[in-house]
C-alpha cells in the first residue's frame, strides 16, 4: 500500500507533476508494485553484502594527457534557447514576492 500523500511526495522528489487522475492511477498501480516488492522482506539477508556495481571492478588507468572532445559549438547544437554563448533559462529566483 502507498498513500496519496506518499505519491505526491515522491513526485515532488522526482521533479514530476501529476494530474489528478494520474495521482489516483499511481496510488493503485504503484501500490500493487510496492506490495510485490515487499515480498523481498521474506528473504534472509543477514550479513549479506549488497551488490551495487558490476563488472571487473579493478580500476583501469589511462595516460594523463588532454584529449579533444566536443567543441563549444557542438555542445550548443542541441540547446533549446541560447544567447551570447550561454544557455538561456527562465527566472531562477522567483519574483512572486515583488508582484
Amino acid at each position: 500500500m502507498i498513500s496519496k500523500d506518499e505519491i505526491l511526495h515522491v513526485a515532488e522528489l522526482a521533479n514530476l507533476k501529476l494530474k489528478n487522475d494520474e495521482v489516483d492511477n499511481f496510488v493503485s498501480q504503484l501500490g500493487k508494485i510496492v506490495d510485490m516488492e515487499s515480498n523481498l522482506a521474506s528473504v534472509n539477508t543477514d550479513g549479506v553484502e549488497p551488490t551495487y556495481n558490476m563488472g571487473d571492478t579493478s580500476t583501469t588507468f589511462r595516460e594523463d594527457k588532454g584529449i579533444r572532445t566536443q567543441t563549444r559549438e557542438q555542445m550548443f547544437e542541441n540547446v533549446p534557447e541560447s544567447e551570447d554563448n550561454l544557455i538561456k533559462v527562465p527566472t531562477i529566483v522567483d519574483k512572486e514576492d515583488d508582484e
Binding site: L40, G55, D56
Partner: protein, 485 residues
C-alpha cells in the same frame, strides 16, 4: 535486398567478388525496407546518408567481413548527425554530436548504419508499445508485438530488412524480442562491450548485444563491437576472441544445467514442449543434462524492478529541458521548466519507473527496498555462480509466452513486468546469455535461452550453432510475410 536467405558470409562474397557494390546493396536495402516498413514499422529514423556512406566504403575497397554491409542500430545508441531519440518525446529532436563506441567500431569495420530502430521508451518495456513513435509489428503476425525493448531491431532482422542489428539488454530486451521473432539474440557479459554513447537506463545491468537470423552472423558482429574502451571504465580489458572463427558445434561432454524454477508453472506448455525437444537434442549430441535449483529466482522480478528503477530514476534526472531535448513552453521559473519538461516529455511507463525508483531510494524506504534488493542480488549471483562451477551452460525457455497481441498487456504493468522473469537472472548476475530459435508454439516462435560463465560467449555461440544446424529454423519464413508476396 531481401536478407531472409542471406548471411554476412554470402553478402561479403558478393561484395568481395564485385558482383554487387555496397552502394547497390544499400540502395536495394532501402527499397526493400520501404516496402516492408508499411507493415512492420521497425525504424524510427532511416539514415538518409546511408548510400553516401556506402559509396565511401566502395571507394576505400571491401575489406573485412562487415565491410559494405548495412546494419540496423537501436535508437538508444547515439549516432553522430543522425537523430537519436530512445523512442522518447523528451529526446524527439536530439541530434548527437558524437557516436557510441559500438557504432564507431562497426563503422571502422566498414558497416553501414542503415537506420535507427524502434524500441520501448528508454528501453523500459517488453513490447515496444511504450515508444513515443508508435508500435512495431511482429512479422509472424502483424497484430502481435515484436517484444521489447529491442522490438524494432528484432522485427527488422526477422522480416529480412537487415542481416543483423544492434540491441541493448537490461532485463531481457534482446533475448525476449529475439524469441518472439524467431531469431538469435545475444546479450554478452557485463563489461564485454562499451556502454559509451548508449543512453543509460540501469547502468549496472545495461549491455549492448547483437541480433541476427544466423548464429554465426552475431558472432562476427559481437567480436567487432567488443573490447575495452577508455571512455567506459566498466568495459573489460580481457582479450576479444574471434567467435566466428572459433565456432564449434561439438557438444560432446558439455555439461548443461536446467534450473527447475525455469519450468515456471505459468509458462505456456507448448513452449515447454519445444524447449524440452531442444534439450533432448543436446543429449543426443553428447551433452549431459542435470536438473538444478535456483531458489532465489522467485524474487528475480522484485529485485530487478527495484534496482533497475532506482538506477533509472537517477540516470533520468539529466532530462530537464535545459541543455537538449524537449523544453516545456510557458513556464514561470526554472523549477517549472524542469518539472513541466519532464512531465510532458516522459511517457507513462517512464514516470512509473522513476516514481518506483525514487520511492525505493527515499529516506525510510532505502533499507527495506533498495539495499534489500541489492543484498538479494548478491544471493542470486552466488546461486548462479555455484551452478556454473559444475556446469558449462544453463538452459531453459527464454519467455513464458509467445508474442502477445498489441494492446493486451499495456494497461497492466505487473503482468508486463512478469514477462521478464526468465531473462532477468542473467542481467542481475552480469552473465552472458542468448536466445536461439527452438521451434513454434501455436504458429509463433519459441526461444531457448542459453546462459554461460562470465566471458564465455563462445560456449553460447557453439551451443546455439549446434542447435541451429540441427533444426535449421532460419529456413522458415515469418507467416505474415508470406501473405504479402
Amino acid at each position: 535486398m531481401n536478407y531472409l536467405n542471406e548471411t554476412i558470409d554470402s553478402l561479403h562474397k558478393k561484395l568481395a567478388d564485385k558482383e554487387i557494390t555496397s552502394k547497390e546493396l544499400t540502395d536495394q536495402t532501402l527499397n526493400d525496407m520501404k516496402a516492408k516498413e508499411k507493415d512492420i514499422s521497425a525504424f524510427i529514423t532511416v539514415n538518409d546518408d546511408a548510400v553516401k556512406d556506402a559509396e565511401k566504403v566502395d571507394q576505400a575497397g571491401i575489406k573485412g567481413p562487415l565491410s559494405g554491409i548495412p546494419i540496423a542500430i537501436k535508437d538508444n545508441i547515439v549516432s553522430n548527425g543522425i537523430k537519436t531519440t530512445a523512442a522518447s518525446k523528451i529526446l524527439y529532436n536530439f541530434m548527437p554530436v558524437y557516436s557510441a563506441t559500438v557504432l564507431e567500431k562497426l563503422e571502422a569495420a566498414g558497416a553501414i548504419n542503415i537506420g535507427k530502430t524502434n524500441m520501448d521508451e528508454f528501453a523500459m518495456g517488453s513490447s515496444t508499445e511504450t515508444s513515443f513513435f508508435g508500435d512495431t509489428h511482429n512479422p509472424w503476425d502483424f497484430d502481435k508485438v515484436p517484444g521489447g525493448s529491442s522490438g524494432g531491431s528484432a522485427a527488422a532482422v526477422a522480416s529480412g530488412e537487415v542481416v543483423a542489428a544492434l540491441g541493448t539488454d537490461t532485463g531481457g530486451s534482446i533475448r525476449q524480442p529475439a524469441a518472439f521473432n524467431g531469431i538469435f539474440g545475444i546479450k554478452p557479459t557485463y563489461g564485454r562491450v562499451s556502454r559509451w554513447g548508449v543512453i543509460a537506463f540501469a547502468s549496472s545491468l545495461d549491455q549492448v548485444g547483437v541480433m541476427s537470423k544466423r548464429v554465426e552472423d552475431s558472432a562476427t558482429v559481437l567480436s567487432t563491437i567488443s573490447g575495452h574502451d577508455e571512455h567506459d571504465s566498466t568495459s573489460s580489458e580481457k582479450e576479444v576472441p574471434d567467435y566466428r572463427a572459433n565456432l564449434n558445434k561439438d557438444m560432446t561432454g558439455v555439461r548443461i544445467a536446467v534450473p527447475k524454477e525455469f519450468w515456471h508453472e505459468g509458462t505456456n506448455p507448448e513452449i515447454i514442449k519445444q524447449v524440452n525437444v531442444a534439450i533432448d537434442k543436446y543429449k543426443e549430441m553428447g551433452a549431459t543434462v542435470d536438473e538444478v535449483s535456483l531458489p532465489a529466482l522467485k524474487h528475480a522480478v522484485e529485485v530487478y524492478y527495484v534496482l533497475a528503477s532506482s538506477e533509472a530514476s537517477s540516470n533520468l534526472q539529466r532530462y530537464d529541458g535545459v541543455r537538449y531535448g524537449f523544453r516545456a513552453k510557458d513556464v514561470k521559473n526554472i523549477k517549472d521548466l524542469f518539472v513541466n519538461s519532464r512531465s510532458e516529455g516522459f511517457g507513462d511507463e517512464i514516470k512509473r519507473r522513476i516514481m518506483l525508483g525514487t520511492f525505493a531510494l527515499s529516506a525510510g524506504a532505502y533499507d527495506a527496498y533498495f539495499k534489500k534488493a541489492a543484498q538479494v542480488r548478491t544471493l542470486f549471483i552466488e546461486e548462479m555462480g555455484k551452478v556454473l562451477e559444475d556446469h558449462d551452460l544453463i538452459m531453459g525457455p527464454s519467455t513464458t509466452t509467445t508474442a502477445f497481441k498489441i494492446g493486451d498487456k499495456i494497461d497492466d504493468p505487473l503482468a508486463m513486468y512478469m514477462n521478464d522473469i526468465l531473462t532477468i537472472p542473467a542481467n542481475l548476475a552480469g552473465l552472458p546469455a542468448a536466445s536461439v530459435p527452438a521451434g513454434l508454439a501455436d504458429g509463433m516462435p519459441v526461444g531457448l535461452q542459453i546462459i554461460a560463465k562470465p566471458f564465455n560467449e563462445q560456449a553460447i555461440f557453439n551451443a546455439a550453432y549446434a542447435l541451429q544446424e540441427e533444426n535449421k529454423f532460419y529456413e522458415q519464413i515469418p507467416t505474415a510475410l508470406k501473405g504479402e508476396d
